[in-house]
């Protein structure tokens, strides 16, 4: 199984839903109704299955809005600042995220994949 397939399995198990409801484009909170306790389970599962350290703040983009505020306060380029703090996300994805903020929590399945890919690579 590749990383996406593994993550799909984990999410389906935790949320008690079918795999076909999950794609890279799926929003975790907006589409799947993921709650904070599900994120706890997800972090534990990713850690044990991929043998990687999982930083909850990073992988679940918990500090996204804080980083944007910081960039604004310090007159820094927002995308550049986000790229420094969330290095696992591509420039294209960061542009998408900043354009999408009004709609609610932006975390997608593809972001989890990107995080795990980077952590596995660093190991």
């Amino acid at each position: 199984m590749n990383i996406l397939e593994e993550i799909t399995e984990i999410l389906a198990e935790i949320l008690d839903i079918e795999n076909h409801n999950i794609s890279p484009e799926t929003y975790l909170i907006r589409d799947l109704g993921v709650e904070s306790i599900d994120l706890l389970e997800l972090a534990v599962a990713l850690n044990s299955i991929f043998k990687i350290d999982v930083n909850d703040d990073e992988i679940f983009l918990k500090k996204l809005r804080q980083y944007i505020t910081e960039a604004e306060q310090q007159n820094k380029d927002i995308l550049q600042y986000l790229a420094e703090n969330l290095p696992f996300l591509s420039r294209k994805r960061l542009e998408e995220i900043t354009a999408d903020l009004e709609e609610g929590p932006t975390l997608k399945v593809e972001d989890l994949v990107s995080y795990v890919e980077r952590q596995c690579y660093e190991n």
């Binding site: 935790i14 008690d16 839903i17 599900d38 706890l40 972090a43 534990v44 599962a45 044990s48």
Partner: protein, 410 residues
């Protein structure tokens, strides 16, 4: 409302999951056909005998929901039977939100199943859930039921061993009778069918041995009784103030008239031999119901088939009823001992029997341990008006509940 106006409490929905069936009709048919589930456990190589529900899946009752992973098997029976009672109640969201929720639950004793690799105190493993503790917290079932059904009223989770679900029902009854709420779901679910649980009861010398015919193993009130057979299941009921039930045209399955509980303060597992405090709970339940002992037609005994319980209980019944002994049934001879949930499931079976004026025999009762009692030795048809249920649990927990057939004319 006038202070002296007595509020009456009736049963208006039943959800039950038992080895005798998943509806009152199924239960009655399986009682009559002696269609029972007793077998040698597959999970214990020392051959314990158990009464399992082999085709149970909580998803069949509550569909898919993510918190399912936090339910131990006993909690699954709780949730499934509660959701069944909610569905059958047919009440709207507003009434559900106002309803109380009272549960009797047991501990998760499946330590070996939960932590298969446990070694020198180290329980962590690859797939240990972040919130694994939820499978051990007694109120996880309550939390899940409330979330699934939208129940937000008064709530208690009672964990008084084998007396727990009868006490949960009793507490719901009193909360309604005393005017705090008009409706409450109450009941319980439990399962001790695991290798670790069996080990626990074996070490306590409470189980019958695993030899012989499994269907003959549990023999309440028989001279040759050797212990209980663990069962599993759950039952929930909607309890409702009578006028409230009538005004919405609800089906009424019976009336709860009296309840009481007490604690021996004697021993950790054995009942107090003279049953002094157990007797007090029975008498107090009769008093609350406004009845005398001769008004009781049937005693649904705790009847575990252990030496000590049945000895104490037989003497107690004899003392209370004396000259005019009521019929005594022992439903654990049909479904095994469902621990914290035994009272709830036994109440469901009592309602099935009451509706049809039917009394099941005490299975495997060949030589009664007490000559003066009116044990039901052969099935029979007879009108039943008042049943008194008794449950006694480890720790000296005693409870008694009086249920009456509902008479539309009264």
């Amino acid at each position: 409302m006038m202070d002296n106006m007595r509020r009456r409490v009736v049963i208006t929905s039943v959800g039950v999951i038992s080895s005798l069936g998943f509806t009152l009709v199924e239960i009655l048919n399986n009682l009559k056909d002696e269609n029972i589930s007793f077998e040698r456990s597959f999970f214990d190589n020392e051959d314990a005998i158990v009464s399992p529900i082999n085709d149970f899946d909580v998803k069949d009752f509550a569909d898919h929901f993510k918190d399912r992973r936090y339910l131990n098997r006993g909690a699954q029976f709780c949730v499934a039977s509660a959701i069944e009672a909610v569905k059958k109640a047919g009440i709207d969201k507003k009434l559900l939100a106002e309803s109380g929720l009272f549960l009797g639950t047991g501990p998760n004793l499946d330590i070996g199943g939960e932590f298969p690799d446990i070694k020198v105190g180290e329980i962590d493993r690859k797939d240990l859930m972040a919130l694994w503790m939820l499978k051990f917290l007694p109120n996880t079932a309550a939390s899940v039921i409330a979330k699934l059904a939208g129940i937000h009223g008064e709530n208690q989770t009672i964990t008084t061993a084998c007396s727990a679900s009868l006490q949960a029902i009793g507490e719901a009854f009193r909360k309604i009778k005393d005017g705090y709420i008009d409706l409450a779901f109450a009941g319980g679910g439990d399962s001790r069918l695991s290798k670790s649980s069996i080990l626990a009861y074996k070490k306590a010398h409470a189980l019958c041995d695993g030899t012989g015919n499994p269907e003959r193993a549990i023999r309440p009130f028989d001279k040759s009784r050797k212990g209980f057979v663990p069962g599993e299941g759950g039952a929930f009921f909607l309890f409702e103030e009578l006028q409230h039930a009538k005004s919405r045209g609800a089906t009424i399955y019976g009336e709860i008239c009296g309840y009481s509980a007490s604690i021996d303060g004697y021993a950790m597992t054995a009942p107090q031999p003279d049953g002094k405090w157990a007797e007090r709970s029975v008498n107090a339940a009769l008093q609350e119901a406004g009845l005398v002992s001769s008004d009781i037609d049937v005693v649904s005994s705790h009847g575990t088939g252990t030496l000590l319980n049945d000895l104490m209980e037989a003497k107690l019944i004899d003392r209370i009823y004396g000259e005019k002994p009521p019929f005594v049934i022992a439903l654990k001879s049909w479904i095994g001992h469902i621990a914290a949930a035994c009272g709830a499931v036994e109440l469901a079976i009592c309602l099935a029997c009451m509706q049809s004026s039917y009394l099941p025999k005490i299975r495997n009762l060949d030589e009664p341990c007490h000559a003066a009692l009116n044990f039901v030795r052969e099935e029979q048809s007879c009108p039943i008006r008042n049943i008194l249920l008794e449950n006694f649990g480890f720790g000296g927990q005693n409870s008694a509940l009086v249920v009456r057939k509902h008479d539309r004319l009264r």
